[in-house]
């Protein structure tokens, strides 16, 4: 009995009746062409698995994860619930709105945000220095007495000292409009380069860090990431790349980054 290619494909999945599985087994022993056909289907399957696996590396938009994280299930009639949630969710990613606001605010002064509108902010593959920043934040954000290296009362010195060390202008951003108090700064080393870490605390004690690293080719556009259990928003400015780091799930990181980008 001739084995069809469709049966061969089902044989690959173990989906044939046992009698047919045995029949295909026997046919494969005797028919080199049939074995070659099976090999080709297996190669196609392997290719499909690799290709589909590649798709999992595609960055997940932070806005999508945030929408799920912040969803409030409602006890109500199913239709009402869906309608309410669908109407409430942001159809446009939060970061796109942020980008538009900043692009409007700084347009023409430096072109740092060129291309942002075409490139939606996503949870993207992280540059090496951000991995180090996440590690630093994990350690230093739990410190209380020794949170900073130089205190906020020496803000002028912090700016002079870190500007000279980094080779890029360091300015202490005023984030008080977000109820964030500047605590001071640290000098870090990330990806083999000096990094300024400006630390802020909220009234609940949570810590947000604004870090910058000198760059001859600053990034264009904003990128949101979740890295090492922290949310980050990074962007490029004059001669430096910046990143704002906070606890995972902070809904205000984007607007704080907006303020910081305009003030550094």
């Amino acid at each position: 009995m001739k084995v069809t290619e469709e049966q061969l494909s089902a044989y690959l999945d173990g989906e044939l009746p046992s009698k047919d599985m045995e029949m295909v087994d026997a046919a494969l022993q005797e028919d080199a062409n049939l074995q070659a056909q099976l090999d080709a289907l297996m190669a196609a399957d392997a290719m499909a698995q690799s290709g589909f696996a590649e798709m999992l590396k595609d960055p997940v938009p932070l806005a999508l994860a945030d929408a799920i994280r912040s969803a409030q299930p409602v006890e109500a009639r199913p239709n009402d619930v869906m309608a309410a949630n669908i109407n409430a969710r942001p159809k446009t990613p939060l970061w796109m709105g942020l980008a538009a606001a900043i692009a409007l605010a700084v347009g023409g002064v430096g072109g740092y945000f060129t291309g942002f509108a075409q490139a939606p902010v996503q949870v993207a593959e992280a540059p090496a220095w951000l991995l180090d920043i996440a590690d630093y934040h994990r350690i230093y954000s739990t410190q209380t007495r020794h949170l900073v290296e130089v205190g906020a009362d020496e803000a002028d010195h912090i700016e002079t000292w870190l500007t000279a060390t980094l080779g890029a202008e360091v300015r202490v951003a005023n984030l008080s409009s977000h109820n964030l108090r500047f605590e001071g700064a640290r000098l870090l080393v990330a990806a083999g380069k000096p990094v300024a870490q400006l630390l802020y605390t909220a009234s609940d004690g949570s810590v947000i860090a604004l870090c910058l690293i000198q760059s001859d080719e600053p990034n264009s556009g904003f990128k949101a990431r979740n890295l090492g259990g922290f949310d980050m928003v990074s962007w490029g400015g004059a001669g430096a790349n910046f990143v704002l780091v906070g606890d995972e799930g902070r809904s205000d990181l984007g607007v704080i980054a907006e303020t910081a980008a305009l003030d550094v």
Binding site: A10, E15, L41, M47, E54, M55, A65, R69, A71, K91
Partner: protein
Amino acid sequence: MKTDLIAMLPRLRRFARGMTRSVSEADDLVQDACLQALNKAHHYDPTQPLDRWVFRITRNLWISEIRKRQVRLGQGHIPAEEASELVSKDTGETAFAAGQLQDKIAALPENLALVLLAVSVEGYSYAEAAELLKIPVGTVMSRLHRARKELANALAEPAGGHK
């Protein structure tokens, strides 16, 4: 459940893109499906895999969306099996990121790619894939074969040849 859903997002997006062929539509669909899963969490049977349940929700939402579009377009009600054949058009977006393998998969018709994803990648049996995609088991078998055959032919093409 939120944490599980967020961990599942890459797979859900991949599945949704297989249906919508549009990045933004896929993300909208995934978001709707996750919100519906959260709102209907009391219907979830914890003895069953959560991913299968959410995949089913995603698929049903997409079929429902396609039906609505057909009605809006004046084409009247269409059965689920036909709805599942329809994809959005002219979105101007690429459903899958660049890459040779992904290009070849993206070149597969939606109905073939979804069966391949469900069975060969997500590990669904033919019967489970039939239930998920709302098509007969025999159709799962024939589409799977066609999908593999098309990919095998693409593999056999000389390098730099037709995609």
